[in-house]
Symmetry: C2
Subunit: 218 residues, 2 copies
């Protein structure tokens, strides 16, 4: 009861439906190393509870009145970045996952998961791993995929120059690096801008990143 296992995982449940909270708590309490330390019925209350209780992980429903799961997750991530966040949502996966994952959510599972999987997910997240539902993963992966984009055809040399354009170097410096004349680099740059229909170097680099022609660091 009041005994706190030294290595147990402290859990806070945030969901607007009491039955769901109780059901989750019951399931989780079956695990010897999981400890449900609190419940909250919306994001605002959950946020306060999290700050007070300092759980290792919070299970948060996405759709809630007053303050929804996304708002709460973002706020909690800012105020207490060490507390892991596991999103619990209905059956559908909407576009908010991108913001949530980008904000550093560690877990995302659907409510129809088997209890065993949820427990596994909690363990994984508590141990510093990320646990995303396959559908979520798929969505993210598909977002990362080259959207069979009407890719502009840049020549190899142009692609090379484009990569250098993302560096702090001036055209003169790039020319030195490539062992060609500055005029050559400027000529390539000119063609690149025209092909990409971009007004300047900054926009060209941004556009190149969007269409994954160049990467953010290597």
């Amino acid at each position: 009861m009041g005994i706190t296992m030294p290595d147990s995982i402290r859990i806070l449940i945030v969901d607007d439906h009491a039955v769901v909270r109780k059901g989750l708590a019951m399931v989780l309490r079956l695990e010897p190393d999981l400890e449900v330390v609190g419940e909250a019925e919306n994001g605002r209350v959950g946020l306060e509870a999290a700050k007070k209780l300092q759980p290792g992980i919070v299970l948060v429903d996405l759709i809630m009145p007053e303050m929804d799961g996304q708002e709460m997750a973002l706020a909690l991530r800012k105020s207490n970045p060490k507390i892991k966040i596991m999103m619990l949502t209905g059956t559908e996966v909407d576009d908010r996952v991108f913001d949530l994952v980008a904000a550093g959510i560690e877990g995302y599972v659907l409510k129809n998961v088997e209890p065993a999987e949820l427990v596994r997910a909690i363990h994984a997240v508590a141990h510093g791993e990320a646990y995303l539902h396959p559908d979520v993963m798929k969505k993210i992966v598909s977002r990362m995929q080259p959207q069979h984009t009407p890719t502009i055809t840049l020549t190899p040399r142009e692609l090379e120059v484009l990569e250098w354009m993302a560096s702090p170097n001036t055209y003169k410096q790039i020319a030195a690096q490539l062992s060609v004349s500055e005029e050559t680099v400027r000529s390539h740059a000119k063609n690149i801008l025209e092909k990409m229909k971009q007004p300047n170097r900054a926009q060209a680099v941004l556009a190149a990143m969007k269409m994954r022609l160049i990467k953010l660091n290597g």
Copy 2:
């Protein structure tokens, strides 16, 4: 033996080590609905085999002579996008995962997985889900996360100007949008560049994106 189950998963194994191939095949053949239809010892051979055999999924080792797993995966993805690709690699997860995931690899598991997990992974991928090893997922998620960066403290107005700096607009145009003088915008820009220690607008925008001060579209 020669009997092909109507709903069985046809598997092609590509690995340069015969023992690994045989071991994998033996393990997988224990499953009634998995059918190892071929083996190949490098990417080039594997590519040919895949085109000929049309398996549902190929297990590909990353490190191989002549043509490695990455090359093969990219080539196969182009020629036969319907064939699922599951990457099998050593213990370490290197940076190539980004290119592979971006290219649409469905699976990525380490060689030290339990057979049961590999079988689960194969089923998942065969059913259209993505199955990435937790470490891989973590790497991808962490790449998406704001790396608890020593964020520069920009004033609200500077942040606003910085966002506009990522647009195609000139300072004059930005000034018009913000209803201030061009000199004001240029003044802000000057301070932003100094604070961010960036030599020019393009680099400032890139740096801002890296530290997630501004987003790629939104």
